[in-house]
Symmetry: none
Subunit: 403 residues, 2 copies
């Protein structure tokens, strides 16, 4: 949906509340022919009951057949078409570890890697060194690297991955990646794609040159690769674009990061689902829109652990009455993408949606599951980025278009 269409229609005096409850990787597949999916298997009496007065359906985050990454998948749920609003991996990495990325920063995702004596990459992940080694190497590089006129940040992320941020005046991120992606090649030089990015590219090349010397006696991580150079995007901010004071509640940095990216306030990391729901209750009066993120449905899907994913869904169902007690005007329960335990990965399959509001036109679906949702009022492939305008409408927050 075009923000320009929504903007002039926003009500100015609405007090309604919208809750977007995202179970990450919710959509699934049966483990064997004729079987049920994770959601179909889970006992979800509260969601099934709510389904009776809701519109049901399935959404698609990006386009038919396209498997969404977590960043684009959430952007789509937040109303941003991911093909129109692309965010670089560097920026996502920064947001994913609570790094406070500034407009004058250029961020990149880094890998520690192994090179041979000729400087050719022999292991792009340096044997997946543990995070502690990355921490030491980041500290070593930060201590020794000396590039005047620019501030450099290095943060370990996980295992061999780290974040590089350079901060300074006049830096642009249109820079070619140094990762050759295949073995037996030397890392590429960081080339500027246009003159505006030449300054940043030169800093990156100098950084790589010094890093090569500093790391050369390390083993196995004796070199580094840089990808996804990116800056913080300058998009319409969610709270202004949709006219809702907005709060994100999420246990993992990546999801707080995407929420921050679009301008939502963020709670600090909760320790469990109960605490997330408590945060929701305690902040209910202070915000109009709430994004509550449940991570482990995806994690267990990625692990191929069907029963554990089922169990996580059931845990959320058990907590649902606490959200309902707050009497939200609109409550959307869905996932950001599918993560079938069968596939142990994100997938392109459409994602079940339960859309509750007092103004819902009921459909005939009375349970929350992939097959049931096929018959629902939202249809079976509504673009995820159309859910927000629909939520605003059902929350009484959108005026009529035209006279």
């Amino acid at each position: 949906m075009d923000f320009d269409v929504i903007k002039p229609l926003l009500s100015t005096n609405a007090t309604s509340k919208i809750l977007l409850l995202v179970m990450d990787g919710l959509g699934g597949l049966p483990m064997e022919p004729g079987g049920k999916t994770e959601l179909e298997t889970a006992s979800t009496p509260n969601m099934d009951k709510l389904a009776e007065s809701s519109m049901m359906g399935l959404h698609q985050g990006i386009r038919t057949g396209i498997t969404p990454g977590s960043g684009p998948a959430h952007l789509s749920l937040f109303g941003y078409d991911p093909l129109q609003y692309e965010v670089g991996r560097g920026a996502l990495s920064a947001l994913g570890i609570d790094f406070d990325l500034q407009p004058q920063d250029v961020a990149a995702r880094g890998n520690f890697c192994t090179v041979d004596e000729q400087g050719r990459v022999t292991d792009r992940r340096a044997g997946r060194i543990p995070t502690e080694i990355s921490e030491r190497l980041c500290a070593l590089l930060l201590e020794k690297i000396d590039i005047p006129g620019v501030e450099i940040f290095l943060r370990p992320v996980k295992e061999y991955r780290f974040l590089l941020v350079i901060r300074g005046e006049g830096l642009k991120a249109e820079i070619e990646e140094t990762d050759p992606l295949i073995l037996g090649k030397e890392p590429f030089p960081a080339k500027a794609m246009n003159p505006g990015s030449e300054k940043a590219a030169e800093i990156i090349r100098e950084f790589v040159k010094q890093a090569k010397v500093i790391l050369k006696d390390e083993h196995p991580a004796n070199m580094l690769l840089l990808r996804g150079f990116a800056q913080i995007p300058t998009w319409p901010k969610f709270p202004e674009a949709f006219g809702v004071k907005s709060l994100a509640i999420a246990m993992y940095p990546m999801y707080r990061g995407v929420a921050k990216l679009v301008g939502m306030d963020c709670m600090p990391a909760a320790h469990d689902y109960e605490e997330e729901f408590t945060m929701l209750e305690e902040n209910w009066d202070k915000y109009d829109f709430f994004f509550l993120h449940i991570k482990k449905t995806d994690s267990y899907g990625e692990d191929g652990n069907f029963p554990a994913k089922v169990h996580e869904i059931e845990k959320v169902d058990a907590l649902l009455p606490r959200a309902l007690a707050l009497d939200p005007d609109v409550l959307i329960i869905t996932g950001d993408h599918s993560t079938p335990s069968l596939m142990k990965s994100h997938s392109w399959h459409p994602v079940p949606v339960l859309f509750y509001a007092k103004t819902c036109r009921p459909d005939t679906v009375t349970s929350f599951g992939e097959r049931a949702c096929l018959q629902g009022g939202l249809g079976n492939r509504i673009p995820a980025y159309e859910l927000m305008p629909l939520a605003l409408a059902h929350a009484g927050r959108l005026e009529k278009f035209g006279a």
Copy 2:
């Protein structure tokens, strides 16, 4: 789908096989209220069995309410939105008779026709003269017509139809058709739609002027009409765009033509369905993607011959086990458009789709028919050009979008 979105997501090492089995004009209508369609009437035990482990639905080739021609309908199945990728009939005709159209060529589809003494069209198809007469007339024209500075090709196609190609420097195809489409009118002059096409239009007018004299004592084909001026389009080629070595198997020139247009390899014309399936078997190891075209479902629909169309569908169902024995990773059975026997013509009605893959999320549909497909997981109006990205996803040929 934008090819630019797909391209960077293509897997480089997939070995999966995709089979697109097109029964031309598959979609139908009941002959009387309360009746069944052709597909619903046909006994299709193999397809019904496969439906149980497939996603079902209906596709739409162009847009709601728009009846597709054969060219655009197939382009859409091949992943090209026909509103974005338009191709003239002249170019299709050329490709359909194995004419090796060059970038500097302008092609047109021609009809031999009958005109009265005032030059007004009395029969647009010259009594459907047999192909042999067209052959003689084409040879006669080629022998006598003399236009310096341009190379002219004339090829009989079928009955009264022929192909005209002019080859030379600076030729463009934006030229108005000469066929008045109704009887009692003189053929229109070939007018250039813009200055860039003036040179070609002038050659065409001279060609028509000379042809009129040469043909004037012939009977009934004493004149010609030209339509669909076109050049070969410069689109992304199917094999590169989707990363699949691709083979087309079709009995009729038009369908091989469209397949060639997008860069597929083509088998020579088979004589019957059995031979088409044999070609499929013999080439299974050599390609990743197979387009197998069944023509007569459409022909009988056009004839209004409901039982014959039903019978053709049953013949294909009986051959299906041969395709299944090859163990395709993705098998799509559908039509390019609807051709209801009731209407004796192409129609805009959505077209049933059976989409089989091991990673299908099952729906509740257990037979292959228009009404059954309405309840299917693909929805009831998926754009035909979204089937290819979906096929690539289910074939494990697409990486995740974003992190």
